[in-house]
Every structure is written in C-alpha cells, then in structure tokens.
Symmetry: C2
Subunit: 126 residues, 2 copies
Amino acid sequence: MQFRLTPQRMLILKLLKKDTTHPSAEDVYKVAKKNFPNISFKTVYNTLQVLQDNRLIQELIIDRRKKRYCPDPKPHHHIICTECNKVVDVHLKFNTRLNEKRAEGFKITGSKVTFYGVCPECNMTV
Amino acid sequence: MQFRLTPQRMLILKLLKKDTTHPSAEDVYKVAKKNFPNISFKTVYNTLQVLQDNRLIQELIIDRRKKRYCPDPKPHHHIICTECNKVVDVHLKFNTRLNEKRAEGFKITGSKVTFYGVCPECNMTV
DNA sequence: ATTTAATTTACAATTATTGTAATATGATAA
DNA sequence: TTATCATATTACAATAATTGTAAATTAAAT
C-alpha cells in the first residue's frame, strides 16, 4: 500500500509525538478537531492504523475500556493505574526469554511487561 | 457484597475451569446456553464479574477485539497468536522487579508478561 | 490536462458491553 | 414452615468503541 502523509495524518502524528498520556482514539480526535474542525472519526482511526502499519506508533492493549496509542514504536513496557487508567512508559530491559519447550510451539515474535499499580494522584485520594 | 453461587454461576465456573481456550464472554454464553437455554448475556457478564471479584478467575486484556477469561486467578503469563488470537498460559517466573525510581511514583501491585507470536496451526498455513 | 488511486468525510452499522426494570429465587428470621 | 427481603435472572434497551460504505475530494502519475 502506498502511504500518503496527508495534512491530517501529519497533524495526528505530531500530536501523538508530543503527547505522553497514551491517548485513546477519541482523545486524538478531540485534539485534532481543533486544527481540522471537519475531521472524521474514520480518518483518525484510519490514520492510527496506517501509522501503526508503518511502525511510527504502537497500539496498546492494556486499558480494559479502549485502545490506547503510544508514540514510541520501539518495544518497551508500561505501567497502568488500576484506579484511573493512567499509562506511563517503562524503558527498561527485562529478561523474559521463553525457551522453545515453554513456548507451546509458538514462534515468539515479541513480548511486553505490563505493570499494574496505583498512580501518585490516586494514591493521595484514598 | 453477599455472593450467591447460583446454578448459573456454578455452571459458568465449571465451564471455565475445564476450558483452556481463554474464552470470551460470548463463547461462555454460547456454551452455557446448552444447559440454560434462557440464560441472558447479562447473567454471563455479571457472573464473570462476580467470579473475578472473588478471585476465582481473571479477566485478560490481551485480545484487541474483546476481553478473554482465564480460569486460573493466580498471577501468570500468556502467549497470544497474532494471527488467530489463540491464547495459552505460561507458568514461569520472570524477574521483572521494578525499582522505586523507575516506577514513576506508582505503587506497583502486580505485573504480567505478554508474549506475541504465531501458533503452530497458523504457522503451518502460511 | 487527464487519469487514476488514495484519502477524507458523513453517516450508517456492527460489536462488545452495560443499564433498567420486572420477575424469580433463595436465605434468613419469625 | 411461611413471610420477608435482599440478591439474581431475564428480556430488552442503551451505550461506547470501532468499522464499513459510498460519494466527494485530493493529489500523484501519466
């Protein structure tokens, strides 16, 4: 597929790159609307997919409610707050090698560690 | 909350305990319907929540399409097939300790490793 | 300039999940 | 045992996230 970096896509990529909150598609849509008032949800979803396919961002399956998007496509890990669903990056290497025997015949292509916890803000308000 | 182990709940728990496929709520519903033809989706979802709250099963946020349920409530890890979304358990301990400094102020309560790969069946059909 | 493929938009549709209200169930106390 | 009452179930509607469709638009390539 030929991938065209349209103004909408450029904007969404830029928004993501400076956003550390791991926004949802709706979050992206709301911010993008400020620059492109007529932008559609479909364009946002479409763009997120294209950016993902081209390894410019990555989709996170971590929040029980919806997908979140991470501007850093390189493999790394995350912590999610079990109270407010805040997500933050963890840039550390862990040894999670899975030997053939334990891989159940799967050809392993990657791995990720997810940490669950309570963020500082939520910790205060208990 | 008082938790009543009704026939429907008993059935769902039993179904899950002998199911290694990490079924979705809909999968559970379909099987449960064989014994309780009038069972509702709401009862299934409600039961899955209750069983989870009572630490008899655990919900998995791993499949991009929907929640999956694991009969084993104890912390362990999973492999998911990126082709067909098959999920299997990994019962191994990994050292994923996160020192305070790197926890970004979060109070960490748990962690899980997710492996991505291609299952034997999907590997064949390439 | 013309053709053509990719993209965007508006909007409908789908899928997973949750909410509501009436009825049914079953535990507990009289 | 029977009455009471909280909890659970069901049918069904509603919501939320995401995806599909088709027409119009854009822009790359001839």
